[in-house]
Symmetry: C2
Subunit: 582 residues, 2 copies
């Protein structure tokens, strides 16, 4: 179901019920840009990775949010689903909400428009949102202003005092005219007077007449009439009437604020439910979800982990799941649509899924890829097929599988990290994977060096994986890990390059000069391990088998299209980065 500002309030109770009753739910975001792959290095530690994605989240917007709920009907052994596709856009509401500036990435916009994304609908009918901090700030502004206005009523009754701006020459006729109008008005029985339209500076000049000329006689307020803001004069009420009037305005503002909170209400429902949340390549979506609709992302990586785990105690990333035992032997692509295609064939099978009666949902054949609601839906379907497979491997019946969280334990709360070479993941509520990078070196070299120079340098020690940092530095990973000591020893003699171990480099970056054996991001405030060490198969080569992702896919594809050997000059280095396939 498409949800915009026009039906949001009406749909909300139905969404709440769906969340409360579901076995699990799946989510997906469409964004104004990704950009995230730009800075990430394939040897980043999870904490470094987090920093980069976090910065990215600040710049781009979530413009569509997909939510799909799946309820297991054990009696009939089938799933009932409901899916929602929310358009999300925050208009500049009033001066309590900053006029948002946001980045767009041409490739993302281009991609979405080709998928028939309706930007006109988005900008016209998007659902607003405010995260908790924004709501708090906003509410406290309203309270402050209410208090100030209440105080002002006192002082106005006593003549008041405010900064008086001298009337410039070109305004004098206008103001004279207004004074006459008000004086005439005061002698009539009329209850209010609409003043002539004028610009905001003139309105300010008129406004000061309230205390300067008509103290104790009139109230003024600005109202929006079509496209214009117009001043209205009313005869001054008693102090009590004024206070009552102010209170009503304040209550109206609080009600308005309620409306502005918008989409956050859905997230609050999800958080409150504590339900299992499924996403595909969840990292970016999870960070955006928290930052946009719940609260600011903390600077500290470990704090983020605690926060995210507290908000979403059970999440599964189908990208991580599909690339972890036993699936990599059965699944060759974890790109969402390809994954779903694979999971529709033996040895997998998709459980029976129906749209909940009287509600809206998708069918797989709708084929609305990159509509957030549809992507959320097929993510849930893919998850179900894998869950079913895990159970059927243990000869369990469907009704013994769906509900059996033990089957999901190896994948629980592990977030896939695109681009990283050694299958690092973020483990919410647990310890991150921490693969050894003793075979990785940090090197600096002359500006004109290209991939060939580096591979030649390391050629005595076998093949290498080069991950560029900038024009003059890179991480280099040896395929033959046992060559690490001799490579370091030999190349340390070089006059042309400088080489240091990965651990030393990380220590340098973190400001500690002493060598460390573990990557930076996982050092701080490590909690005692809450889960068993990952049982997943470690890849022996330094290339992740599949690099692309649902939404990041397209960017990756773009970046990688240089495989035909034509090196565009301006992207010389970038191209080389790409050929190393980080």
């Amino acid at each position: 179901m498409e949800v915009t500002i026009s039906n949001f309030t009406k749909v909300l109770p139905e969404v709440e019920k769906a969340i409360q009753n579901c076995t699990f739910l799946s989510i997906d975001c469409e964004l104004t840009g990704l950009n995230v792959t730009r800075n990430i290095n394939s040897y980043d530690a999870p904490g470094q990775y987090y920093d980069k994605v976090r910065n990215n989240c600040k710049e781009f917007l979530v413009i569509q949010y997909g939510l799909s709920t799946f309820r297991y009907d054990s009696e009939n052994d089938k799933f009932k689903q409901q899916s929602y596709n929310f358009y999300i856009f925050r208009r500049p509401m009033n001066r309590n909400i900053p006029d948002q500036r946001f980045l767009c990435q041409a490739s993302s916009i281009h991609f979405l428009i080709n998928q028939c994304f309706d930007f006109n609908k988005l900008f016209k009918e998007g659902i607003p949102y405010l995260n908790d901090e924004e709501v708090k700030k906003y509410r406290s502004n309203l309270e402050d202003n209410f208090k100030k206005r209440s105080d002002l009523i006192e002082s106005q009754q006593n003549g008041g005092h405010e900064d008086i701006i001298p009337i410039p020459e070109n305004a004098q006729d206008f103001i004279k005219d207004v004074i006459e109008k008000i004086e005439t008005f005061l002698e009539t029985e009329e209850t209010e007077l609409q003043l002539p339209k004028c610009n905001s500076f003139f309105r300010r000049l008129v406004y000061q007449l309230r205390t300067e000329k008509f103290a104790g006689k009139v109230s003024m307020e600005t109202r929006q009439i079509d496209k214009d803001r117009v001043l209205f004069v009313t005869k001054l009420r008693t102090k009590e009437e004024e206070q009552e009037h102010e209170k009503k305005i304040f209550e109206g503002q609080l009600e308005e604020l309620e409306g502005f909170i918008g989409f956050n209400k859905v997230l609050k429902m999800i958080v409150k439910s504590g339900k299992l949340v499924i996403g595909h390549n969840l990292c970016l979506d999870l960070l955006h979800t928290i930052e946009k609709f719940l609260c600011s992302l903390p600077c500290e990586y470990e704090e983020f982990k605690e926060l995210a785990h507290g908000l979403f105690p059970r999440v599964i990333d189908t990208k991580y799941m599909s690339s972890t035992n036993p699936f990599p032997d059965l699944i060759s692509s974890s790109v969402l649509n390809q994954l779903l295609e694979r999971l529709s064939e033996k040895p997998f099978s998709i459980p029976n899924i129906e749209i909940e009666e009287g509600h809206s949902g998708y069918k797989i054949l709708d084929n609305k890829e990159h509509e957030a609601g549809y992507d959320a839906y097929i993510t849930g379907v893919a998850f179900l097929a894998m869950w079913k497979y895990l159970g059927s491997e243990q000869k369990l019946k469907d009704n013994e599988i769906f509900g059996n969280m033990d089957l999901l334990e190896p994948y629980m709360n592990r977030i896939y990290l695109m681009i990283l070479t050694d299958n690092q993941y973020i483990h919410l509520g647990g310890e991150d994977s921490n693969p050894s990078r003793d075979h990785v070196f940090h090197i600096t070299f002359p500006k004109d060096w290209r991939l060939n120079n580096i591979t030649q340098l390391f050629s005595p020690f076998g093949n290498v994986h080069v991950s560029w940092i900038d024009e003059t530095s890179a991480y280099v990973g040896l395929n033959k890990r046992d060559q690490a000591a001799i490579a370091l020893n030999t190349l340390s003699q070089s006059d042309t390059i400088a080489i240091t171990t990965y651990a030393k480099r990380q220590a340098f970056l973190s400001g500690t000069k002493t060598p460390l054996s573990s990557p930076l991001g996982t050092r701080k405030r490590r909690k005692s391990s809450e889960g068993p060490p990952s049982s997943k198969k470690r890849r022996t080569d330094s290339f992740p088998s599949i690099i692309s992702k649902r939404s990041i896919d397209r960017i990756e594809e773009e970046r990688m299209e240089a495989e035909d050997g034509s090196t565009p000059g301006i992207y010389k280095k970038t191209f080389e980065v790409d050929t190393t396939w980080d």
Copy 2:
């Protein structure tokens, strides 16, 4: 006429003819954001102002460009107009063009969508553009690559050499299969072989087979098939055939580049014509026009002035014109639609204007405000009405007026600067206005100070105009200029605040410690004055009579809506800035 990528090439010759034949032309831009008023201080020097607008231009996009041409038909004493409304958006074309990231401002988007701006059409059918530097870079990349590929043909024929990536385990079956397919293909009469779809990394692995396994036997190239990129194998041609093939590809690429240049062609036509260009509140539009469609904006202000004057030797800003003698006495608002309304009444009159036969244009009653084409049109109409007024004041007949540039001399090449208090303007090809700011001081004060504290501090010396810089500093201008010396003397004694002259502050900012009597921006490389000193009336008060502008209007309005006295807490200082009406 609406112009998108679908009719751009067809319309171009007609546009060229219209430009060549016109008496003058008018332009207008719609942008993804303005934001420009945020940082500008009402006491900025023109050079400082330029820096801020220039930075702004880098972030936002031009998404609609309006062009209206006016041809005076002296025989029939009427103007013939043609108007065009171009949708402008650059899709990510290929890897020679960076994937553009651009800012949007929610208020601008909201405003445009409410004016029925069609964002779907923009993103789907926008006309591309590349400024000259981008074209040059792109062309040189293509040439480099052509050369590289030509060289590669030699080396390939000789077996070639390129970086060989070891085949990871999960790719080995795939690669084995591909090798078999190619071997079979080589034994057939077929001319080309389409390989199975695969991801870009796999394609790279296949690609290296060309030299590693099949040197001298096959060529490979990637083609786009629907959404996928697919590798094709052809039997190796002779060196000459290959070179011929490469040349064709190169020529195709150059042709493609021609298409990407897009909207710049229109700007080139305007520049080439040397025609009089009219704009309303032209500063932002002029900078965007140059930066997006011609060349990067120089860092140095004086360089910009030379560049802009060279490109557009005759420009008139109707906002400047309408706020300069004799018009301020007759016109109370320079907001475009209000200006037009005023100019439709006596003592003004709008000349006879018709749409050029067989072409498209607007009527005033179309009322399509903020459609760039329409705004360009009514800007031209407003200009015509003022031109006619100037002539009729001198008892000239229409055919003596339209063509009489002397009448326009006082306004020629003077660009209005919004927000500045003292009617500063940029004078292209001449010396900027340089009003004395001897009555202006720079003060720093405690963080908790508000407007009241400053006005009280200066109260012995009369009313002041406060222009906030940040939380602890502001410029303060005295209304009574003769109090400057005594104010400085007295307040220099203060322990709470620090006060310095405007000139000293500017000198400090420019790195010179010695006091200067002229503002920073106009100091550098001043050219000898090319025009007579402006004859316009200097305002004696420190408030510009009208602050708002066509597109900036709405922002200003937003910022100024605080006139009802309710001070939002988070914008405390901002609000105070607004009440000073910079």
